[in-house]
């Protein structure tokens, strides 16, 4: 009796070990089998333009009136299927024009010089170092890439507009209406948006990915330059070194990546 109970316990113990290790062995076996087959892989484009930290320098000395800025804005709107609404409250903007006193609220004073006072400034998403919009977005539809570009994944946007409330620069617009009928000429290579999502400048991520410069840069005759802020030899660093530049509302700590030469 005694004997048979002992042998039963032994047997039970050994089987328990055996059963316990089986899933582990299975996992090993299957991972080996996977390693042999060539699974699908996903890569970035080779010709993509890359940077450690993208930044933009806008040389406002090269602009005189809004007429100089229109082609730049138009280029962006056209490429990104940005709709043109008649009513101000429906307006969608990726890049637009504003006055010094609204753009540089913290630098503005009564006696700011005449040129700046009347100069139109290009404004767009600042692709902030510490983007408030990203922290506010509950669905991670707005996110920051490693290279600093703040992007929107329109597929995920639920239209809560937290990001719009969070952004200190008013860089974001909401689609209150279906934008399709208000796009004059659709660019078939870029999606439109739908009613109920937020949109903003995407630093032409879709163009950088195929080795092209942003549309505004191309349309600016050299007045707008983008490049790697972390590369001391880049063109933007060269410009920053040799010119006095200002950024918008720096006291907020967002760390805007758009620099203005004034």
């Amino acid at each position: 009796m005694e004997n048979s109970r002992r042998s039963f316990l032994k047997l039970a113990g050994i089987s328990a070990i055996g059963l316990g290790t089986k899933p582990v062995l299975d996992a090993f076996a299957s991972s080996e089998a996977h390693g042999e087959k060539h699974g699908p892989e996903i890569f970035p484009n080779q010709e993509a333009l890359t940077a450690k930290r993208w930044a933009m320098v806008i040389d406002t000395r090269k602009f005189e009136s809004e007429a100089d800025l229109d082609p730049i804005i138009e280029a962006c709107n056209k490429i990104h299927n940005v709709p043109k609404f008649k009513e101000k409250r429906h307006e969608i903007d990726w890049i637009w024009v504003d006055e010094f006193k609204h753009v540089f609220t913290d630098l503005e004073h009564e006696f700011v010089d005449d040129r700046l006072k009347h100069l139109p400034f290009l404004v767009l998403c600042n692709h902030c170092e510490n983007p408030a919009c990203v922290r506010a977005c509950p669905t991670k539809a707005t996110f920051q890439r490693e290279d600093g570009i703040v992007l929107m994944d329109f597929h995920r946007c639920i239209g809560c507009r937290f990001c719009m409330a969070a952004c200190p620069y008013g860089s974001r617009s909401f689609n209150f209406r279906d934008p399709r009928p208000f796009i004059k000429e659709e660019n078939k290579a870029f999606p439109t948006r739908m009613k109920g999502v937020v949109e903003k400048c995407n630093f032409c991520a879709e163009r950088l990915a195929v080795g092209k410069m942003p549309a505004c840069v191309e349309a600016s005759n050299g007045a707008i330059v983008v490049g790697d802020l972390h590369d001391p030899d880049s063109e933007v660093r060269e410009l920053l070194k040799n010119n006095y530049t200002i950024r918008r509302k720096t006291h907020l700590g967002a760390g805007p990546a758009i620099y203005y030469i004034v």
Binding site: P40, E41, I42, F43, H155, K188, A209
Partner: protein, 132 residues
């Protein structure tokens, strides 16, 4: 006790009513649709992965591609067989719709049959209707 007939009639009417959808649609089952391939798709012989796989998994591939392109800036797909593809639904001739430019005859056929309504086309621009 004399209500037997009424009850039975009632039951029959109820039963007929209950099974109405079945016999009403009897023999009317629409045949499983066969999506049409464009000449370009036919010539390519195989999609990014084998046909059977695409039939079952195309939505997974599209999902992975979407996140890859939008969130990771990855645009090149190397298939299991080692072939290279441009990851895009609707941009350019080497995108999904570049080959399957007949959305109505290709995508919609099965999607309609299975009552699936993907919202791709709320934003992505449909390829223009095929010229015959």
């Amino acid at each position: 006790m004399n209500d037997k007939n009424i009850i039975i009639t009632g039951l029959i009417i109820f039963f007929v009513f209950l099974t109405f959808p079945f016999w009403y649609n009897l023999g009317k089952a629409s045949p499983v649709p066969e999506p049409k391939l464009t000449d370009k798709a036919k010539a390519a012989k195989e999609c990014v992965e084998p046909k059977e796989y695409m039939k079952v998994e195309h939505m997974q591939i599209l999902d992975i591609w979407r996140d890859g392109v939008v969130r990771e800036a990855n645009r090149v797909y190397i298939s299991k067989k080692g072939k290279r593809f441009n990851m895009s639904l609707s941009t350019g001739d080497d995108s999904c719709m570049g080959c399957h430019s007949n959305k109505a005859e290709f995508c919609d056929k099965c999607h309609d049959y299975t009552s699936v309504t993907p919202y791709c086309w709320d934003c992505h621009i449909e390829p223009p209707k095929e010229k015959k």
